[in-house]
Symmetry: C2
Subunit: 253 residues, 2 copies
DNA sequence: TGGTGCGTTGCAATACCTGCAACACTCATT
DNA sequence: AATGAGTGTTGCAGGTATTGCAACGCACCA
């Protein structure tokens, strides 16, 4: 691990919180201003940070472009997208696609609800890993050691009274999800929002992604949402089949 | 500029082209394998690169999350979004929002067309800077020296017969756009797609962003699209007003 | 069994990074 | 107008952190 690079990269999450000037960056890195300046200059040359008119630094445009390319390289996304759209056209609710990577679960695709009430979420945003239905599916597929290790490491914020409270409860939930092959989040993240989710598997049976349908109570009750479960699972299986090369696409574009 | 950081950051665009193994990265950087390994490890620790199961490296999830936060910090996007949605609801076509930064113009928001025929574009993707209507508006606002310098620096790919062919033509087009306060792209990027665009200005009158409406010939002719110009300009002006704090939001969420 | 192609590790040499101190500049304040 | 505080910036000497090498471990294949 390279100290210089390590410091430089530490600047990025720092700037993600908002613009900062040279002094602030230097302080938070714990280095001299001149050192911070040179690191920032290097980041600037690569377009990862931008210097706005008030001289402060913020994250740059190339970072966004890079992330864009990163997502285009995720072929699961390309394959799944039309299926997600079709599911949304059928049920009208918000549809998400998520993957697991290095202790994080994040949304990589989303089709917005066609109801006026929408839920907040953004592609690229890490999800609430201890409560989200897609997170449960992705983590349930890890080995038991990995699950235990991760469960201990996590925080368990009580978003609502029904949030997963601690590692034990989380591990039990993962075991259940692993068993049944699907997952729900019934008001564990936001009081009035429910989700049902199903796993997408690669050729070797490992879970490579998970998809979910989310809707607020004011639109459908949890019970009504659960009636969609068979459809969600079928859609996930279709994507699995196409991803692992078993089935060709039904509606090639 | 720090050599170590410079090398490390050079890995990112390289991996954006697709996954690569250690040897490939070392070769393209022109350094020893062990050096490349240590740089990759540092990038890995920060989540910017991910090591997939076949040991090859690709861009990591945190990069996507960072870019997400970068976009959320762009307040022009937050302000403009509801206006873009409303414009889309009215006319049904694809609506884009773009900004200029360091010789690049890129889309930072998009509302999809409600017609079945959609155009390809992605948030975060740099736009075809010599032909896109939004690019013309953003560049037209630069000082004359900046415009000349940039015009010389650019490439002028002939996407179609109507693409801007050279610096002189581009500078003339920018002068015209600067004069009239709006811009078009009539088949300059893709033969059958037309756009009309209008500038969004900050309190000091400088152009901070540009928005456009795009539609393929098969849906509306160029002339029909131009009838939307007043509406597009009005929307852009509304956003300008709100951004510069002159008008409060009309429909606060 | 031996060979090839990977990724990985310890080490010595030195290139590169660091922090310092002085400078340039803007902006308030007097 | 002059002073001062707060920025960001530059050159430099010292020494740390980075580099490339060479050797090793390992998987795969012949």
């Amino acid at each position: 691990m390279s100290q210089t690079v390590d410091r430089a990269l530490s600047i990025l999450p720092l700037l993600a919180e908002g613009p900062a000037d040279l002094g602030q960056v230097a302080d938070r890195l714990g280095v001299h201003k001149s050192t911070a300046l040179r690191l920032l200059r290097t980041l600037h040359e690569h377009g990862l940070v931008y210097r706005q008119s008030d001289q402060r630094y913020r994250l740059g445009a190339r970072l966004i472009a890079l992330a864009q390319e990163a997502m285009e390289n995720l072929d699961i996304r390309e394959i799944a997208h039309p299926h997600l759209v079709r599911l949304n056209e059928h049920c009208g609710h918000t549809v998400h696609l998520a993957v697991y990577e290095e202790d994080e679960v994040l949304y990589i695709d989303k089709v917005e609800s066609r109801y006026p009430v929408r839920m907040y979420s953004r592609i690229g945003k890490p999800v609430a890993i201890t409560v989200a239905a897609v997170a449960k599916l992705l983590l349930a597929d890890l080995s038991e050691q990995e699950r235990r290790a991760l469960a201990e490491k996590l925080d368990y914020p009580m978003y609502t009274a029904r949030s997963t409270p601690n590692p034990d409860a989380f591990l039990r939930e993962l075991a259940k999800v692993r068993e049944q092959g699907w997952a729900t989040d019934l008001g564990g993240h936001e009081e009035s929002i429910n989700c049902v989710a199903a796993p997408i598997r690669g050729a070797d049976g490992r879970v490579v992604a998970a998809m979910s349908v989310s809707a607020p109570n004011v639109v459908v009750t949890a019970d009504e949402l659960l009636t969609l479960l068979p459809l969600v699972r079928r859609t996930a299986d279709d994507i699995s089949g196409e991803y692992s090369g078993r089935n060709p696409a039904k509606n090639p574009v």
